[in-house]
Amino acid sequence: MAYPANYKYTKEHEWIDVQGTTGIVGITDYAQDSLGDIVYVDLPKVDDALEAGKSFGSVESVKAVSDLYAPVSGKVTAANEELKDAPEKINTDANTTWLIKIELADATQLDALLSAADYEKFISEETGK
């Protein structure tokens, strides 16, 4: 599975797709594959303020819970309500199934995130292959 080159990535396996001053956030294909069948997503409310690196919600598979970490700081402008009833969409296509949209507070925070190539290198080191 390819990791879109125009996204930025965190070491906690979130991606962010920046469009203007809005960041669209999801979890990576590696994350969905590690979790297995996703059955529950807990997301923040619109207007919640997120802080880069802090937990903003969780994703649960049948066997595990995984925290979600904000790639950047900002205010939540939308949460993907569709995932309440169809969380398995994340398994089907992690790259395009978004969780939340954030109004970026500080675009320079993006510089601290990984490129697609760096993220792939990071997970290959993490899986020890």
């Binding site: 297995g36 069948d37 059955v39 649960e60 049948v62 066997k63 819970v65 993490e126 020890g128």
Partner: protein, 376 residues
């Protein structure tokens, strides 16, 4: 990733699982498949069709000789004298205080020959325990056959049809919790038991543990079950299946700090049979009016998934217990859990709160098992 200090143990099918790209985990020191083709799909295959599990990590202790029945009777709480040759029973080995060494399945091979199937994570402890308990008993010899068998569990409503293609033995003559020996995939004298840990009909077969034979039989089972949608299943589905069926797992619902009555397994403890390890303690607990806490089934009634280790509170905010196993139930499509709570909270429909990541989420006590198959 950090180097693992100790090498994980592998079943004879390890290479087969890895080649099939199963997700592997460390389970009690064993490198085992947890997810072969999606936990929910595997779970549903077993409930509605058939699935096959590699359970070779389970241990097998044989007790032989004229003193073997006496040894089994002393070691295990159920009454093995009631067994006929070819019959199996759920039982448990207890410590003198009435808590669990392990839960086991006792198979009576013949009058002087018993096979006790034990859990993987407790293998060494169990073998030590049996040795220490029977050391002074006359006429009994113990063999640890754990590494001798590859054990496959073929489970689900289509399990019999699947296995029937591979054996001349008429499987319809084997009743639940009975077993026989016969030819399977051309191998002679394979033990075929109508047992399992999924809440479904099914069989467990014990074949030689060399890699080529194990791989050949595994593949032949998959081929035979193809028309019924068979899936290879991992420990993830094994756990959710046994949880729906309300079955105990060592280290969760039963352990060396939980006694038989608390675990709701009193019906398997035959207090009227002669002395067995743990009997005095169980009689004393009974004389004191029974256990103070009990295992209950919980169903989440608000949104949230209670999981292993999550604390339980009464609705007025007092901490009263803990979940031992909790998960979404793929077939029932509910979030369920097993938990220990004080007896005053065990009545059906009692509402409690599960603390899920700092939030109290309501659940209620429901009957066990959560899932019961319709018997034909």
């Amino acid at each position: 990733m950090a180097e693992t200090a100790t090498e994980l143990r592998k079943t004879a099918l390890n290479a087969v699982h890895r080649a099939a790209k199963a997700k592997m985990v460390d389970f009690g020191g064993w490198d085992m498949p947890v997810d072969c083709c999606g936990l929910i799909a595997e779970h549903m295959a077993v409930r509605t069709g058939v699935g096959v599990f590699d359970v070779s990590h389970m241990g097998d202790i044989q007790l032989r000789g004229p003193g073997s029945l006496a040894a089994v009777q002393r070691l295990c709480m159920n009454d093995a004298s009631k067994l006929s040759a070819g019959q199996a029973q759920y039982s448990a080995m207890l410590y003198p205080n009435g808590t669990f060494v392990d839960d086991v399945v006792v198979h009576k091979l013949s009058d002087n020959d018993f096979l006790i199937v034990i859990n993987a994570g407790t293998r060494e402890k169990d073998v030590q325990w049996v040795r220490s308990q029977i050391g002074h008993m006359p006429g009994v010899h113990m063999n640890d056959f754990s590494d001798y068998y590859t054990q496959l569990a073929i489970q689900g409503p289509r399990a019999a049809e699947t296995l029937q293609k591979l054996t001349p033995v008429d499987l319809s003559t084997i009743k639940n919790y009975w077993f026989t020996w016969g030819q399977v995939c051309g191998l002679y004298n394979v033990m075929i038991a109508r047992t399992g840990y999924t809440g479904e009909d099914g069989f467990e077969i014990y074949i030689p543990s060399d890699e080529p034979t194990s791989a050949r039989v595994w593949n032949e089972v998959l081929e035979a079950g193809k028309e019924f949608g068979i899936l290879p299943c991992g420990l993830g589905a094994r756990n959710t299946l046994r949880l729906e069926a309300g079955m105990a797992l060592y280290g969760h619902e039963i352990s060396d700090t939980i006694n038989v009555f608390e675990a709701g397994l009193g019906r398997y403890a035959k207090l009227d049979k002669p002395e067995f390890v743990g009997r005095e303690a169980l009689l004393a607990i009974q004389a004191e009016g029974g256990p103070k806490r009990k295992l209950v089934g919980l169903e989440m009634i608000e949104r949230g998934i209670g999981r292993d280790g999550y604390p339980i509170f009464s609705l007025d905010g007092t901490r009263i217990g803990e979940i031992t196993s909790g998960s979404p139930a793929p077939f029932l499509k509910k979030n369920i859990a097993l938990a220990y709570v004080p007896v005053e909270y065990t009545a059906l429909d009692t509402e409690v709160a599960v603390e899920i990541r700092n939030q109290k989420v309501k659940a209620k006590v429901v009957p066990l098992p959560f899932y019961k198959r319709l018997k034909k």
